[in-house]
Symmetry: C2
Amino acid sequence: MSHVNNEASLESAPIGRRRFINTAALAGLTVGVGACTEKPATAPAPTPAAPAAPTASAAANAGAGIHPKPGELDSYYGIWSGGHTGDMRILGFPSGRELHRVPCFVPDALVGWGRTNESKAIMGTKPDGSLRYTVGDTHHTHASYTDGDYDGKYAWINDKINARIARVRLDTFVCDKITDLPNVQGFHGIFPDKRDPVDPAINHTTRVFCGGEFSIPLPNDGKDAADPTKYRSLMTCVDAETMGVRWQVLIDGNCDLLATSFDGKLAATNQYNTESGVHYEDMMSAERDACLFYNIARIEQAVKDGKTTTIGSSKVPVVDGTKEANKDPKTALVAYVTVPKNPHGVNASPDGKYFICSGKLSPTTTTIELKKVLDWFDGNLDDLQKSIVAEVEVGLGPLHTAFDGRGNAYTTLFLDSQVVKWNVDAAIKFHAGDKNAKYVVDRIDVHYQPGHINATHSETKSADGKWLAVGCKFSKDRFLPVGPLHPENEQIIDISGEKMVMVAEHPVRPEPHDFIIMRRDVIKTRQVYELDDFPNAVKDPKDAGLFREGNKVTVKLTSQAPVFSPREFTLKKGDEVTLILTNLDKVEDLTHGFAIPHYNINFIVNPQETKSVTFIADQPGVFWAYCTHFCHALHLEMRSRMIVEA
Amino acid sequence: MSHVNNEASLESAPIGRRRFINTAALAGLTVGVGACTEKPATAPAPTPAAPAAPTASAAANAGAGIHPKPGELDSYYGIWSGGHTGDMRILGFPSGRELHRVPCFVPDALVGWGRTNESKAIMGTKPDGSLRYTVGDTHHTHASYTDGDYDGKYAWINDKINARIARVRLDTFVCDKITDLPNVQGFHGIFPDKRDPVDPAINHTTRVFCGGEFSIPLPNDGKDAADPTKYRSLMTCVDAETMGVRWQVLIDGNCDLLATSFDGKLAATNQYNTESGVHYEDMMSAERDACLFYNIARIEQAVKDGKTTTIGSSKVPVVDGTKEANKDPKTALVAYVTVPKNPHGVNASPDGKYFICSGKLSPTTTTIELKKVLDWFDGNLDDLQKSIVAEVEVGLGPLHTAFDGRGNAYTTLFLDSQVVKWNVDAAIKFHAGDKNAKYVVDRIDVHYQPGHINATHSETKSADGKWLAVGCKFSKDRFLPVGPLHPENEQIIDISGEKMVMVAEHPVRPEPHDFIIMRRDVIKTRQVYELDDFPNAVKDPKDAGLFREGNKVTVKLTSQAPVFSPREFTLKKGDEVTLILTNLDKVEDLTHGFAIPHYNINFIVNPQETKSVTFIADQPGVFWAYCTHFCHALHLEMRSRMIVEA
C-alpha cells in the first residue's frame, strides 16, 4: 500500500503528482485497501516522513485540565451519535466521561423507553400494539442555531436503517418526536438550517435537511427493481418545530453528508454514485462525483407554485432536482459542482465563506466558495466549477473536516490514520498558483482509521479552537482486550497551539459517527418536572387505587420514597390493565423505578414525572412490584404487592 | 436528621449509645430518612467532626497513574453490573473507562442480541418466537475461582425482575447461558463457591448460589395470596458448568446478599423480614433479623438421601432450611445467626476467617467467625450467637464491605455518605472488652449515598489493597446537568496508604450495583473466532447464495471488506427467510454489521463469526442491506441488494 508523501505535502507538492484515485486507479486502490485490512492490527499508522513531535512541555501544558478533579465540572457538553445502538450519548468534555444516553429509535430497558405508553406513541407501533422497529443506526447529530451559534434548544439525529429523524430536547435530554421520511432508504446526512433564506427576522433554525443515501425505485413497490433508470434518492426538508415533512427534492446520486450555509440560503450534500449504478463497478464508472447546492428559497417558491409531484402514497410535495432538469442557473433549484470521486464529508467553515468537501477516494479536499455558488444561481458566474477555489492534496482517505475559527481546517485521513491541519487561505493561494503557499500546517497520528472529527463550537460562528475530538473506527491494541468486539477510540487533541497535541483517548461502544461539542453555558436543563406537565398525573396518594370497568382496569399509583401507594392491588386473570405511576418526590435526582416480576415491565419515573404502561394480567399469583432505581435506605423494602386471582 | 457522632466513633464509642435502630426507633428513622430525601440535592454529606484531610502530597502521589496516557493500558479489569439496563459492563481500572458492555437479559441493537437466532436461543422465546423478556435488573456479578483467586473463566450475573442467572465467558465476553430459577421471585444475591466442601481435589468453582429475596406463596398459583404463612423464599444452587439447577433450600425471611467461604463449606445469606410479613410494619416487628449459614455438604447429602420435596411443576429437589426445622445443630442444614435489623451486605474476608454483615438499619457491622459456625454445626459450640466476635458501631447506614488484605475493612455508610475504614482485629478486641482498641482507622466523604464498594481482588485471597471503587447512588451536583435523570457516581479511592485518598469519579448510567475488580493478567481473551466454532458457517464466498425449498428460503452470505457475497438476492413476498452470514475477515477488530432497512434487522459478525436471522419477506421492493459497522474506506459502498418481488 502506498502512502501520500507527507513531506511532499508539507511542501505543498505539485498538483497532479497523484491527483486523485480515479476509476483507472480504483482496482489498485481496492487491492491496496484490501491488503491494509489483512493486517491493520499489526500495521500501525504510517509515520510521517517528517514527524513533528510536540515538546514535552507543550504536551504537558496541553493536557492540563483535561481530567477534572473530583467535584470539578467539564467545560463542554459533547453530543454524540450512538451508531447502531440507536441512541444519542451525552459526554462531558474534554474529560470524555459519558453523562447520559438518550434512547431514541431503540427500546431502552433502563427508562422503559419502548415499554411505556408515552414512549411507544413517539416510537410508533404496529396495529397489534408492538413496536414497529427495535433497531436503529444513528450517524449524525446536530443542534439548533440562533444567530449562527448553538441555542441549546434541540438536537436532531438520524436513523439510517429505517429512515427516521428524531428530535431531542436539550432541556430534559429526552426524545420528543420521531418522523418517518417517506420514500427514503438509507437516510444519512442531516443538518439544521441556521436562519431563513428570505426573512431576516428569522435568525434561528426552522428546517432540518435530511439526505437520502440509497437510490431505490420510486415508488419502491417491487415493480421496477430491474430497471436502474428508475432508481433515485431524495433530499428531505423537515420542519424543526412540528417535525412534519415539508418537501423533498429528487436528485441524482447517493446523498452522503450534508451541510448548511450560515446565511440560510443553501444546503449542500456530497453525492457519490452520480452514475446511479446499482452495482459496484457501475457506481465507480465516472471520473468525478458532485457536491450539490440546494437553493432553499427557490425550492420553497416552486413548492408554493405547485411545481411538484408526489410519490406513491406520500402526500409530501417533491420538486425535481435532477441534473438534467437543473441546467439553467436562472431557474435551477440545485447546482451540481463536480468534485473528485466518492466525496464523503462536507463541512461549512465558521467564517461562513466556504464548504469543504473531502475526497475519500482522492487525497484532496475541495474548497467551494459560497458566494460564487450564489453568483452562479444569480447568473453572475459563467461556469459553476469556478466556485472551487481550492482542491489540494492533504493525505490518503480524507473524510471530515473541523475548524478552529482561526482559519485552519482539520481533516481526518482514514487511510493514513492521521489528522492533518491545513490553512484554508493558504490552500486557496496554492490552488491559485502560489506554489510557495504552505497550506499543510501540522499532522498527527491517530489510532486508528479516523472517521468523524469535530472541534469545540466548530460548526458555529463561535468556533473557539480549543479541543478537537476524533472518532477512530479501530482501536486494535489501545485498550485492554475484551474479546472479538473492540471498542472504538475517541481521541482528544489540544488544538490551542500551533501544533496539535494528543492528550487523552476514550474507548466507546461502537459506533459513534458524528458529534458536536458545545460550551456548557449553552445548555439550560430542567431537573424536576411539574405534575401539570402530565395530563394523567396522580397528584395525591389519596387519588391512588384501582378503578375497574368490566375487565378494563386502571391502577393509579404514586411513589414517595420509600413507599408506593397503594401498597397492594388485586386483579383478575385476563384483566386489561393500565397502570399510571406519578413520582411525587420533588427532590432532584430522586428517581424511582417500577418493575413487575415475570410481567416484562420496568420503567422509571423522574421527580414529579408520570408514566403509564398497559398489559394483560395473564399470570395468576403474587407479584411484588418493586422499585428498581435506588432511592432510599429502605429502597429494597419499597414495593407494591400485585395479586392476580386465578 | 441526626447523625452518628463521628468523633465518638473514632474513639470507639461505648456500645449501647445507640445500639441499633430497632422497631421502636423505626418511626423516627423513617421520618429522618424522609426528611433526608426532601433535600439531598442541597444537603451535602455531613462533614466528619474530625475530618482527616489527606496532605496535598499524599493526594498527588495517590492520584498518580490513574489516568493512562494515550496508548497506556489499564492495570485491572472492572466487571460491573448494569442494573436495569440488564447487561454487564467491563471497565478499564483505575481509569474507569468503559471498554465493553455484554448484553445478557435485554436485547442489544448493536450486536443483534435478541435478534439473531443464536442469541434468541440463549435468551428464551415464547411459542410465537418472540422474546420472553426484554427487561432485566442486574445487581450482582461475581467471577469463577481457582485456589481462592479469580481464574478468568466465567462471571455470573443475576436478573432480579425475572429470576434468571446468566453466565458470561471471560475469553470472549459473551453471555453463553441463561437459567431460570423456579419458584423464585426477586432473585438478588449471588456468589460462586470457591472449592468443594468435601473433595479437596476440586479447588475451583463448581456451584453458584442464588438468593431469593421476595417471599411468595409456594407454588405461586394465585391460591394462597391472602395467607402470609404460606409465603417463603428459596436459596438456589446452580451448576457452574451445566448451568442446571441442582437444588433449592426453603428458608425464612427475604434473602438479601450472599457470600461463600474460602473452604467451600458454607454459603451465607443476610435475611431481612425474618418475620415473613407481607406488610411493611409486619416486616419490622422483630428486634433482630438473621445471617444464615448453609452447610453445603449436609444439604447435598440430604438431596442424595432424597430428603426433599418439589414445588409446583418444578422437578428441582428442595430441602427444608426453615428455622423451625433446623434447631438441632447436629442435623441442621442451615444455621440462623441473629444480627441487627434488616442486614444488607455480607462479605467474606480475604483471610478466610470472617463474614462481615452490615446493619443497614443499625450503625453496626457484625463480624461472624467461620470456625465458630462450623464448631456449632459440629456440636462444639453451645450457642450459635457466640460466633459473633464483633458487633461495633461504624456509622449510619452501613451497607457493604471491601478488604485490603492487610486486615482492614472498608464499609459504605449510605446515610452518612462516607466510607469508613476499620480494622477487623481491633474491632474484635473492642467487642471483647478492650475499650482502648481503636478500630476506626479513617473516614472519607463520598458523593453521595454509597451502596456497593469493592477493592482490587478484595473477594479473593490475593486482595492487594491498591484501589477502592465506590458506587454512589446519587450524583446530584457532581457532573454537568443532563435533565431529570442523573448519572450515578463511581468514585475511585487510593487505599495504598493509611489514609484513603479520593482520586477520581466517573458518571455511570444507572444503575450499577455490585462489581469486582481483577488484575489484567487474569483475563485471556480471544479476538478472532474460528470458522469451525459455528456449525452453520459459510466458509467460502463460492458457497454463498440463495437456497429455496418451497417458500422456505436460506440465504447464505459472506462478508469480506468491503464486499458482501452474494451482492444481490431475490425473494418472493411471503417467503420465510433464514439468512446466515459468516464474516470471512480474519483481522482482529474487523467486525461487520448487517442491516436490512425497514425489516427491523441489524446484527454484527466479528472476525470469523457466523450469525443467522429468520424473518418473513412481507414487504415488496428493493432493500439495500448494508454494513453498519465501519470496516473499510469503501464501507459505505458495502451492501447487498435484497429484492422482494410483489
